[in-house]
């Protein structure tokens, strides 16, 4: 990792290499073959070509971002150099709280394949630092010895929620063999480079392709599989995401179309066998042909399944299989697929449609015009429209790539890799994977985005329906496809509603079919995550083999029945959904396990971050026994209520604010003020809880929530340290942290999710230069920060009072003030907390809330008083169990205790000399006409008074002692006692209070 240039602090020069090819007319962007990088003043030139793994400038010089380069493109002027990448994560980029999910100590050179969606995969090409070697390590083999420092290892993928075993297919191609891939898009299949004018440049790039089949497959019917293996990596990746979800629908569709076809497990097996020998190599055309001849129908089925499950496949196969299908859809059928492709790429562009299931075939034709007019990928399409299917097929490949590039990070990936978990255990070869992978998307219907996706899809459908009419020419042959797909749409939308129903069914299936394979897979995971554990090697081995055995034996049968079902009930969409669901479950279950298992075991292994906790108790805490205890527990401020009543409006405002910022990926500040105990922090926590939930449901992008509290740090500058620590788990000094954060928030690191920062007790972050506040409010305004700052303080005018102009201006005007609770709200809060536990009289509650509302409106106070009242109620009766409701008198007593001033009681309970001294003080004040006197003066009065009272006069020392005692209680305010007799005395209570108290004593 020393190779990149960033350390040199020199200007790097980037130059496009190769000839540009237009790939989007609309946006006037050009694709390029490679990029030459050189450092100013040095001869050496580094060439970066797509497919290589690259390092990208990030926040951390030490650890730049890692990604795989997919494609270069730039605009007309060649000024903007952009690249599309597939991201990889380092462990340090994984959120702190999720790191434990890994379940083992990470390899220092380990990176993770990123499957999340939050990161933009388009980067500025000029942020590329250099290339790096990345090796895929199968999940159950240990990391290689630390040989070269420059090699990174990938074992798992990370989908923002869990680590999954990485599908080896995703990683399989070595950079050497891949470079041409991104260029392929415009590669003309069999024609000479010049034949297709659009794709002049890439042709030459395609030529170096090591795989001859790529060239050959052009016209071949049977080549499909070979192609797949050839371009496997990209294909599979292309299949990504929503092809996964979406295409599951189309898969069913195509399954329906070929309803009569037999199932193909046999074929696959054979394929495995035949291909198994040369995992890296592809099937020859002949092989495939043979098989196809053998089991024509089956294979067709398989292929079609595959096809429909991935856009690109479907394209290819659609073309290649046309002869067989000629009966039903000859020309249109052939043409349909390319359109489908375009439509899908289209719909991929609209983020909401992502993960959608049903845009598939019925949209396809209709989309053409749209695609032509509006969308980005049209470069190749115009030529396609009229041309024969061969060139189109060619185009499938590029498109596929492109598609993958676009959406390489969609969540459904996770499922794919979830499936992949099983593969290593199975010892599955690459070919098998490629066969399986089409199944994965089917099996793993993502729940993500469903609602929004449906909405969008509906909308699009409407439009398309209109268009359909105009496109009759094309649509006539496809009518039959539209119908099922619609059905599908329905079923998929139904899915949500009938979730439980399906789930139960799915579970049934699971128990019947999947149980045997589930356990081993889990174990397998365990053994793979076990590395750090002290499990006997043997056992691990046994487990692994067992897992493998089970899987090979179990999986096939399990698939078979489901597939049969598929066939049998191909017309019954519901049934299919169920099958899909079970498979999805299968995938999910295995995907879920890894995050569960490690979380259990990790804790002790990381001493660096070990935070000690309070030792746990030997006897568990007793649960509340009676109603009053129950009420008391509910009324405790710490108990988290089910809902936050009376703050609906504020909740909504904050929620909208944060949600919009998270959705847009922008930043902003909000200032929230309110007196203590008005629910500011609680409301924000509630908002965040809801948003987290929403992001878990994939309704909004994931975000990070960080909380700091001005009171919980020793110095304002510690804020930087705490923020950085919570963001990246680094522990650095305040100055360094500030620098790192500055860098983080100002640099355009695309791989960034929105950060929501809650700053509680903002006023304590005040420094003389106000730089902490300034930074906190300045960061959100940066273009690339994606930071939302919510600040809380008590005073409404804090910005005006303590902030200098440039800070206040950055804080902005998004302000909110929490009013003190009114008595009705307080009452509602108590009742909602009590939640039907009948412990209070209605009047008693009202008294408390009115009293508190009149004084402070502090909900904490209110709850504390109620709690105290329950105690008084409990004590008032002899038997705690027989205590009834909390009545007015109990509440009154509690209120008295908490609100009544203790000064008067204190004076009444004081000793005689103390009382006398107080009177002397008042007498002296009256004599002087001042509110202040020296002890000497008061003592003269005191002596006179004690003579009047007939008491023996006390000595000066005693008098001073009396005075000091009163001073300690703060009935008197005294100067420092070293002044002795000259110390000045003031009353801390009003004279009237003193006289009142003393009068009551005498009477």
């Amino acid at each position: 990792m020393v190779r990149y240039f960033t350390r040199l602090r020199m200007r790097r020069i980037y130059k496009w290499g190769g000839r540009p090819y237009i790939f989007d007319r609309k946006l006037k962007s050009y694709g390029f073959e490679y990029l030459n990088m050189s450092v100013e003043g040095q001869e050496a030139v580094t060439t970066v070509t797509p497919g290589q793994y690259i390092l990208i400038e990030g926040n951390d010089d030490e650890y730049p971002f890692v990604a795989k380069l997919l494609k270069f493109f730039g605009d007309e002027s060649h000024k903007q150099k952009k690249a599309l990448v597939q991201w990889f994560l380092r462990l340090s980029e994984v959120p702190q709280n999720k790191k434990l999910l890994l379940g083992r100590s990470p390899h220092p050179q380990e990176i993770f394949y990123y499957l999340g969606r939050a990161c933009d995969n388009e980067i500025n090409a000029e942020s590329i630092l250099g290339t790096v070697d990345v090796q895929h390590v199968p999940e159950d083999t240990p990391f290689p010895e630390p040989g070269t420092k420059d090699t990174l290892y990938v074992k798992l993928s990370w989908d923002t929620k869990a680590f999954n075993v990485l599908d080896p297919v995703l990683m399989q191609d070595t950079p050497a063999s891949t470079p041409p891939k991104p260029a392929l898009p415009l590669f003309p299949p069999c024609a000479s480079p010049t034949a297709t004018p659009v794709s002049r440049g890439p042709v030459r790039r395609a030529l170096p392709t090591p795989d001859p089949t790529v060239m050959r497959r052009a016209g071949s019917v049977s080549d499909t599989r070979a192609t797949m293996s050839a371009g496997k990596r990209s294909t599979l990746e292309a299949e990504s995401i929503h092809s996964a979800s979406k295409l599951s629908a189309s898969k069913i569709l195509s399954a329906k179309r070929r309803g009569s076809a037999a199932d193909t497990p046999g074929v696959r097996k054979k394929l495995q066998l035949s291909i198994g020998a040369s995992p890296g190599k592809k099937m020859t055309r002949a092989d495939v042909l043979c098989e196809l001849l053998d089991e024509e129908m089956e294979s067709e089925k398989v292929i079609s399944l595959k096809l429909s499950s991935s856009v690109s496949h479907s394209l290819q196969h659609g073309c290649s299989l046309s002869p067989m299908r000629s009966g039903c859809k000859t020309p249109n059928g052939q043409r349909r697929f390319p359109w489908k492709l375009s439509s899908i790429s289209l719909d991929r562009l609209s983020p909401t449609a992502l993960g959608e299931q049903d845009l598939s075939s019925d949209l396809l034709l209709a989309v053409i015009p749209l695609a032509l007019e509006d969308e980005v990928f049209e470069a190749g399409l115009p030529t396609d429209a009229g041309s024969a299917n061969t060139p189109k097929k060619r185009q499938a490949t590029p498109r596929r790539n492109y598609v993958r590039e676009q959406k390489a990070t969609t969540p459904s990936r996770r499922k794919e890799s979830a499936m992949a978990i099983r593969k290593p255990a199975l010892g599955v070869l690459a070919e098998e994977d490629s066969e399986d992978s089409p199944m994965q998307p089917i099996a793993l219907t993502p729940r993500s985005k469903r609602k929004s996706a449906q909405l969008v899809s509906l909308r699009i459908r409407k439009q398309l329906n209109l268009l359909d009419n105009t496109q009759e020419l094309i649509s006539d042959g496809d009518d039959d496809c539209f119908v099922p797909s619609k059905k599908d749409l329905q079923s998929s939308s139904d899915e949500e509603k009938t979730d439980s129903e399906e789930e139960t069914r799915g579970r049934n299936c699971k128990t019947s079919v999947r149980t045997p394979c589930k356990t081993p897979s889990k174990k397998d995971l365990q053994s793979s995550t076990d590395e750090g554990k002290t499990e006997s090697e043997e056992e691990t081995v046994v487990r692994k083999t067992r897992g493998r055995n089970c899987k090979t034996s179990v999986r096939t049968p399990h698939k078979k029945p489901s597939k049969k079902k598929d066939l049998q009930s191909s017309s019954d969409s519901e049934e299919e959904t169920m099958v899909r669901k079970t498979r999805g479950r299968n995938g999910k279950a295995s995907a879920r396990t890894p995050c569960k298992t490690p979380s259990k075991k990790v804790t002790p292994s990381t001493p660096r971050h070990a935070t000690p906790s309070i030792p746990s108790r030997t006897v568990p805490a007793r649960q509340p026994g009676n109603i009053l205890e129950e009420a008391r527990a509910r009324l405790h401020v710490s108990s988290v209520p089910e809902s936050l009543p009376c703050r609906e409006q504020e909740f909504q405002d904050i929620y909208n604010f944060v949600e919009s910022k998270v959705m847009d990926g922008t930043g902003g500040c909000m200032y929230i003020s309110g007196v203590p105990g008005t629910g500011k922090t609680a409301t924000i926590h509630e908002v965040i809880r809801c948003l987290q939930h929403a992001s878990d449901m994939d309704e909004i992008p994931t975000f990070r929530f960080i909380e700091i509290n001005g009171m919980k740090m020793t110095d304002p500058h510690q804020a930087y340290v705490q923020i950085l620590q919570k963001l990246t788990d680094q522990k650095v000094t305040a100055d360094h942290a500030a620098a790192l954060l500055e860098k983080r928030f100002s640099n355009p690191a695309p791989k960034k999710e929105t950060t929501v920062l809650l700053v509680d007790e903002l006023d304590l972050l005040w420094t003389r230069k106000q730089n902490v506040m300034y930074n906190l409010f300045d960061w959100p305004t940066r273009r690339h920060a994606r930071l939302v700052v919510l600040t809380i303080a008590n005073t409404m005018d804090l910005p005006e009072r303590i902030m200098i102009n440039r800070v206040a201006s950055r804080l902005g005007l998004t302000r909110m003030s929490f009013q003190p609770y009114s008595f009705k709200q307080l009452q509602q809060i108590i009742t909602s907390r009590l939640n039907k536990v009948k412990a209070f009289e209605e009047d008693a509650l009202q008294l408390v809330s009115r009293k508190v509302a009149a004084l402070s409106g502090d909900a904490r106070r209110c709850l504390d008083i109620c709690r105290r009242a329950t105690e008084i109620c409990e004590h008032s009766t002899s038997h705690p169990s027989s205590a009834g409701l909390v009545r007015m008198n109990h509440v009154m007593e509690a209120l008295d205790e908490m609100f009544s001033s203790s000064y008067i009681t204190a004076i009444r309970c004081a000793s005689l000399q103390e009382q006398l001294f107080l009177r002397a003080v008042i007498a002296e004040f009256r004599r002087l006409g001042l509110e202040e006197a020296t002890f000497q003066q008061v003592f003269v009065q005191h002596r006179a008074l004690s003579r009047v009272e007939g008491l023996q006069p006390i000595s000066v020392s005693e008098g001073l002692a009396v005075c000091q005692r009163l001073g300690a209680c703060r009935l008197l305010l005294l100067e420092a006692s070293r002044l002795d007799m000259l110390q000045r005395v003031r009353l801390n209570v009003s004279q009237d209070d003193v006289l009142y108290a003393l009068k009551a004593v005498r009477d």
Partner: protein, 430 residues
């Protein structure tokens, strides 16, 4: 036989002294706190709920000095720890505002008392900030049902409120108000206005429970208390001596002079600490040859207790110094308490020498200055202006830290005081 009994008698007195000293020096808790039953119950219930139910609480025990706040708390803790469930389940942390003068020290002390430093092993305890984060993290990790409750006992609670930003209080009280490890924050203070010291956000987090220890003890109860404090416990080994002693105490408390002395003490202060001081003095006069407390012992003890602290100093002054004090007194009378300087005092003194004195010879000025400085060292006079360096010694403004009555009393008791000096002191305006 005779010697043996004498020996035993001697040892009995030692035993009595030991028992009563323990009592008076607060080394042993009383069986039951006197006169604060309801407060005791309240506190015990509260802490029991924390210990047993894991309910977080905060409470302040407020009472004047010597009113038994710590005693009450210790009684409650003792009682609490006797409960079997609780015994191993609470972690008391004692802090004192006079010892933990800032949050950094307090945090270290908390960590030490919770034995958390062992968890991090050899990790050197870093900065204050790390320390705070560390402790908060530890507390945050706990939860109501599974963590051991921690009892934070903050003696001199008001002093913690003077720490910067009240960080410690905020955090402790915040933990007590949130679903973290169960804690009870118990503050002991003698300041009635302690809540006004808290910042409003800290105050809001405090539960506002205050247990006031304001004894409304009548004199009869006070007298009873004296008797019980002096009486021997029932399990005393020598029953004869036990009866003898307790009878003696009973008669002692009925003696009029003793009652007067106690009344005087009662009027001065009701707290037990000053009473214990008195009784200790009386007790120390008990010996083998004098096996009981007599009224005279108590009177003498009372005299020692009540004596003016400056009287003894005045008795030790030279006649010159005394004359200077008298001169100052006259100056005070003339100028109504305005400050004076040496020159004025010296003039006054010279006037006295010229006009009235027969017995006192003239002193050189340096000698008088020396005497004046001695008085200043004894802090019987105090310089009024702070910038002492700039002004000549003779002209520094001073004030007398003695009352008329103290001076007159001292003159009365001064051994062999010349009559003319006395007369000068008593005459108005020198």
């Amino acid at each position: 036989m005779c010697t043996l009994s004498r020996q035993r008698k001697g040892s009995i007195h030692e035993l009595v002294q030991m028992i009563l000293r323990e009592r008076f020096c607060h080394q042993r808790l009383p069986e039951k706190p006197v006169g604060m039953e309801s407060q005791h119950k309240h506190l015990l219930e509260l802490l029991r709920r924390t210990a047993v139910h894991g309910e977080s609480n905060s409470v302040l025990i407020v009472g004047p000095r010597g009113s038994g706040k710590t005693m009450l708390l210790n009684c409650v803790l003792r009682e609490l720890l006797e409960v079997k469930d609780v015994n191993k389940n609470v972690l008391p942390v004692h802090l004192n505002g006079l010892l933990q003068t800032d949050d950094r020290i307090a945090l270290k002390e908390i960590t030490r008392q919770l034995n958390l430093e062992n968890v991090v092993g050899d990790k050197v305890f870093g900065s204050f900030a790390e320390n705070l984060a560390f402790l908060l993290e530890a507390l945050k990790k706990g939860d109501r049902s599974s963590s051991r409750p921690v009892l934070f006992i903050l003696d001199e609670f008001d002093l913690f409120a003077h720490h910067k930003n009240q960080t410690l209080l905020y955090n402790l009280l915040d933990v007590s108000q949130s679903a973290q490890a169960p804690v009870a924050v118990i503050g002991l203070t003698c300041r009635l206005d302690v809540l006004e010291l808290l910042e409003k956000r800290v105050k809001s987090r405090f539960s506002h429970r205050q247990i006031h220890l304001l004894s409304s003890l009548s004199f009869i109860q006070y007298l009873d208390n004296v008797r019980s404090q002096l009486s021997l416990p029932q399990d005393f080994p020598d029953t004869n001596f036990y009866d003898e002693w307790n009878d003696g105490i009973k008669t002692l408390c009925e003696d009029q002079s003793v009652v007067d002395v106690l009344q005087r003490h009662y009027n001065s202060s009701k707290d037990f600490r000053s009473l214990h001081l008195l009784l200790m003095l009386a007790l120390s006069r008990v010996s083998a040859s004098k096996p009981a407390i007599k009224p005279t012992d108590l009177l003498e003890a009372s005299r020692v207790c009540m004596v003016d602290s400056k009287a003894n100093i005045l008795h030790g002054l030279s006649i010159l110094e005394l004359c200077l004090i008298i001169a100052m007194k006259h100056l005070n009378d003339i100028y109504e308490g305005e400050p004076f300087n040496f020159q004025m005092v010296h003039n006054e003194f010279k006037k006295f020498l010229q006009r009235k004195s027969h017995s006192i010879h003239n002193f050189d000025k340096p000698v008088v200055i020396k005497a004046f400085e001695h008085l200043q060292q004894l802090e019987l006079i105090k310089s009024m202006d702070s910038s002492t360096a700039k002004i000549q010694k003779e002209y520094q403004l001073m004030k007398l830290l003695l009352d008329h009555s103290q001076i007159m009393e001292a003159l009365q008791k001064y051994p062999q005081c010349p009559t003319d000096v006395k007369q000068w002191a008593m005459s108005a305006f020198g």
